[in-house]
């Protein structure tokens, strides 16, 4: 296992996990395909959302306790 720093092409990389197609179960296949779509769209949404300096973001957005 090797650690990678976040890079701009992470979105593409994390979305490339093709299904193995080894099951005929339509439900499982549907779930798997939907899961891939979710991860691809998620990687894109995360890429757009992240500030680039998470430590600063978390420090600057600190909140007070509420109820």
């Amino acid at each position: 296992m090797r650690l990678r720093e976040r890079t701009d092409d992470d979105r593409v990389r994390s979305g490339q996990n093709p299904a193995d197609g080894g099951t005929n179960d339509a439900n499982l296949n549907r779930l798997r395909l939907a899961g891939q779509d979710l991860l691809t769209a998620g990687a894109d949404a995360i890429q757009k959302a992240l500030s680039g300096d998470s430590e600063r973001f978390l420090a600057a957005t600190r909140q007070q306790g509420g109820q």
Binding site: R4, L31, A34, G42, A49, Q63, G66, Q67
Partner: protein, 536 residues
């Protein structure tokens, strides 16, 4: 069929960051946000600087400088979701407006914990009107509240942890007991507050262990199922009787830390049941009483969706990945970590070590701030047992000490991602996924959100309030509003809203108001300086 009345209060996090430097002062920011709301929204003022809106909702600044929106009182779960979304549309518009005025982005977040500090949380509270004796309610509902998190949990990380402990419900680590009357510290699963905000004869169950959610399905189920449990308890049934938990808080913590939904917890009767089994018990109770007069007209639809969701979690837990907040988050976060070379399962060991390292740092008085490799080494020294174990763990798993800071940065990124997940105004990760059409969280019948920004629900006193506010807002300096009435200053007439299912606009003369419902209108008839309102 019996009508129910319920509502949701959501506290939001707000922030505005200057490019390259600090943040706009929060208190000033929320005051400006409220100032924009006063200028832009049709409203009547309340007694404390907040606003009642034309859709019957309330917007105000709550404890801890959190902008808070309540829904109007609603009679069904579809309207609850509808008015939450309408409120967020409205808030997003205010934030955009303020962004243009300030020249920096004003961000609003739907989240309940602050990852910048370990102990901070804020709320998303539920209110359920009922007529049950409050003393019987806690035993019947606590097992439900402790186990419903398998579909109502917001998902995220345990903010007490220096590692990355995924939890179904980030609010759970902030609960300190089972029953409590506190809302800002020592919070309990069951909150004993019982302020009906109606004429005598009603109670209000106030739940503060829940969370703000993005999934319509999760929001809808949260209020729908809980309202049915309240309805059964009110009818004298004992839906929680055989599933009482031996240690409710510990059980809730166990369930929250188990995304497989298979962990078992012990009941007072000595049985070991999973959250799914306890939820199935509640569902079976509700289904067996569907025809009862005490149940609301929408009970059957709630039971149908409840059963469908429990079956999905039982048969294919990954179905939650597109439908429920915690499932979506877990799938995304695991994928993100994997893309960085970190397997999700590896985090168990990492979290144990981080707890040990953080404990050792606390012991030597190290600052409570994000960890770095230098900070660990400088404060503990390389021979400290925790550091030695950390080095060994890294090596065993193919990492070098030099990669430790990258792991810490990954943690910070995932925490930011979690905060960004529920960002309002279309900029959040959840909204991005929804636009991409990869989620299956929508609830059929939750519609007309734009209309709900201005229009109150079709029934109940919120309709009367909303219609009156729309008509009177252009002269709002002459009125003061609260949940139970609208006071017309000068004449001291009161629009009576103390009856929760009020169907007509009834204005009372001052003498009538004071004599009819003295407790209902006490707050409204006491002006800000505390002196009684002048009689005419």
């Amino acid at each position: 069929m019996a009508e129910r009345l319920m509502g949701i209060e959501t506290e939001y996090a707000v922030s505005a960051l200057y490019p390259g430097r600090g943040a706009f002062e929060t208190n000033e920011l929320v005051n400006r946000l409220m100032g924009r709301a006063r200028m832009k929204l049709a409203h009547l003022p309340d007694n404390g600087g907040g606003l009642y809106l034309a859709n019957g909702a309330r917007f105000y600044i709550d404890y801890g400088d959190h902008p808070e929106l309540t829904t109007p009182e609603c009679t069904n779960p579809w309207d609850i979701v509808r008015y939450i979304l309408a409120g967020e549309r409205l808030l997003g518009g205010l934030a955009d407006d303020l962004t243009r005025a300030l020249g920096i982005e004003v961000m609003l977040f739907k989240s309940n914990v602050d990852y910048g500090s370990r102990w901070v949380t804020w709320g998303c509270h539920e209110s359920y009107m009922h007529r049950a004796a409050p003393s019987v309610l806690s035993d019947q509902i606590i097992p439900h509240l402790a186990t419903r998190i398998i579909y109502t949990g917001a998902g995220g990380f345990n903010s007490h942890s220096s590692g990355l402990e995924f939890t179904l419900s980030p609010r759970v680590p902030h609960l300190a007991g089972v029953v409590s009357n506190n809302s800002t510290s020592d919070r309990g699963i069951f909150h004993t507050k019982d302020e009906s905000l109606t004429r005598p004869g009603f109670h209000r169950l106030h739940i503060l262990c829940g969370e703000s959610l993005c999934s319509e399905t999760a929001m809808w189920l949260k209020v729908g199922t809980t309202a049915l449990v309240v309805a059964m308890a009110e009818a004298g049934l004992r839906p929680g009787a055989v599933v009482g938990l031996r240690s409710p808080l510990q059980a809730m913590q166990t369930i929250a830390s188990d995304p497989s939904c298979s962990a078992v917890v012990e009941t007072t009767g000595g049985r070991c049941l999973s959250a799914l089994e306890i939820q199935c018990h509640y569902l079976a109770q509700a289904e067996s009483h569907l025809g009862d007069a005490s149940m609301p007209p929408w009970a059957e639809e709630v039971c149908r969706k409840w059963r469908e969701t429990l079956n999905l979690l039982l048969d294919a837990p990954e179905s939650a990945d597109e439908m429920l907040d915690w499932g979506i988050k877990r799938a995304l976060y695991a994928s993100y970590a994997k893309g960085r070379g970190v397997e999700w399962e590896w985090l168990d060991g990492w979290n144990r070590l981080m707890a040990e390292v953080r404990g050792a740092l606390d012991d030597v008085g190290a600052p409570d701030c994000p960890l770095t490799a230098d900070m660990v080494q400088d404060n503990l020294g390389s021979a400290h047992p925790a550091v030695c174990r950390l080095k060994a763990f890294l090596e065993e798993n193919g990492f070098s000490w030099g990669e430790l800071d990258a792991l810490f940065r990954l943690r910070q990124e995932l925490l930011e991602i979690d905060m960004r997940f529920g960002q309002l105004g279309g900029r959040g990760i959840f909204d991005g996924l929804d636009r991409a059409g990869v989620l299956s969280h929508h609830v059929s019948g939750v519609e007309s959100i734009d209309e709900a920004v201005m229009e109150p629900p079709a029934s109940g006193r919120a309709r009367i309030r909303g219609e009156a506010i729309r008509r009177l807002a252009s002269n709002n300096g002459n009125y003061r509003c609260d949940w139970q009435g609208i006071l017309e200053l000068g004449t001291n007439r009161v629009l009576d809203l103390s009856e929760p299912f009020e169907a007509a606009e009834r204005w009372l003369e001052y003498e009538q108001a004071v004599s009819a419902e003295p407790t209902a209108f006490a707050a409204l008839l006491t002006p800000l300086d505390g002196a009684p309102i002048r009689r005419f």
